[in-house]
């Protein structure tokens, strides 16, 4: 379970960024979370609450945007969203492909801060 250390990094980064922008509290953190990030969403949400305790993020919300895995299909010559990370193939022509275009994201996109 590495979600707690990841949640702590999120809180730390949000604090730094908020301070830099003159914020006094952070009310929410917007995060992109790829299906291949290796992070379990539910575990991250609980860990985040813990990590926020007694910080300027206490009571803030972690708004997660789930990013599905998008691969490049060499046969269709296009980007395709796969339905399951247990089967890496083009959903249209079924050509196997491991060429991942998106889905590994673990990125703070934005913060909502109170000044």
């Amino acid at each position: 379970m590495h979600e707690l250390s990841i949640a702590m990094s999120i809180v730390e980064m949000a604090q730094e960024e908020s301070a830099r922008r003159g914020g006094s509290r952070v009310s929410s953190v917007h995060l992109k979370l790829g299906a291949l990030s290796g992070v379990v969403k539910e575990a991250l949400v609980s860990a985040y609450e813990l990590a926020c305790e007694q910080t300027e993020l206490e009571g803030s919300e972690l708004k997660i945007e789930d990013i599905p895995v998008v691969v490049f299909c060499p046969r269709c010559q296009g980007e395709r969203t796969i339905a399951s990370i247990q089967w890496f193939c083009c959903p249209e022509c079924h050509t196997p492909t491991g060429d991942v275009v998106r889905g590994k994201e673990l990125e703070i996109v934005a913060l909502e801060i109170l000044t």
């Binding site: 379970m1 590495h2 250390s5 990841i6 990094s9 999120i10 980064m13 949000a14 960024e17 922008r21 914020g23 006094s24 009310s27 929410s28 995060l31 291949l36 990030s37 290796g38 992070v39 379990v40 990370i85 247990q86 089967w87 890496f88 193939c89 196997p96 492909t97 491991g98 991942v100 673990l106 990125e107 703070i108 996109v109 934005a110 913060l111 909502e112 801060i113 109170l114 000044t115």
Partner: protein, 224 residues
């Protein structure tokens, strides 16, 4: 206090710090002509035995060293030290994976220019190590025949980040009624094209192929 929150754009990778250290390590390794391999698997898949045999068998021709991560104990480092290669244990305490900064710290004071191969054995865990780049050139995921053929489907992320899959404990394949076709199909489903080797560190089966693969990778790494 203004009660309406203000939205500010950030766009920062949460693992940026780890990635920066990993990138610096990779550059340093390459500058010294060092090829680095990390090993990941579930606990008990045979990483340490496989690595001990690898270190022993590479040594007549190559200079090798290893870092080994565990939550606690020096047992694995002691086992690996029997190969006579330089070995250092990294105790992660409560952490379930290695991070690039731990590798960097463990290598302080080492003269990397005297080495050809550095092996990094991660903590036995098929989940958490997937997210952390350690600066390695090759990530090897191990799957033992006693674990079940569906491990790749249960842990697709780690298999997806691997560069080589090694099926271990092949000497027990029959006893475990291991279905090689199913295992291979599952590996290919989560990582199409992933090179897969089969070994038994105990009998030596498949070790030659693995070692020559590593040697070819070293030559490629030295190529201009």
């Amino acid at each position: 206090m203004n009660s309406k929150p203000r939205m500010v754009e950030v766009r920062q990778n949460v693992l940026k710090q780890n990635d920066v250290v990993a990138r610096a390590l990779r550059e340093k390794f390459h500058a010294q002509g060092l090829f680095t391999i990390s090993l990941v698997s579930s606990p008990g898949a045979g990483k340490t035995t496989f690595l001990e045999k690898t270190l022993t068998q590479l040594q007549p021709k190559h200079r090798v060293a290893a870092l080994v991560g565990d939550l606690a104990t020096e047992n694995d480092a002691q086992r690996l030290a029997r190969s006579q290669a330089p070995v250092k244990q990294i105790n992660t305490g409560t952490l379930c994976h290695l991070e690039a900064a731990m590798v960097e710290k463990a290598l302080e004071g080492w003269d990397l220019s005297t080495l050809d191969f550095l092996f990094i054995e991660n903590v036995g865990n098929l989940v958490c190590p997937a997210s952390y780049d350690l600066g390695e050139d090759l990530r090897v995921v191990l799957l033992s025949v006693t674990e079940g053929e569906d491990k790749p489907l249960k842990y697709p992320t780690i298999f997806n980040t691997a560069d080589l899959a090694v099926i271990t404990k092949m000497d027990m394949a029959d006893a475990a009624e291991f279905d090689m076709m199913a295992a291979t199909a599952n590996i290919q489903a989560v990582r199409p094209g992933l090179r897969t080797l089969t070994v038994s560190a105990k009998t030596g089966q498949g070790m030659d192929e693995y070692l020559s693969f590593l040697s070819s990778q070293l030559i490629e790494c030295h190529a201009p």
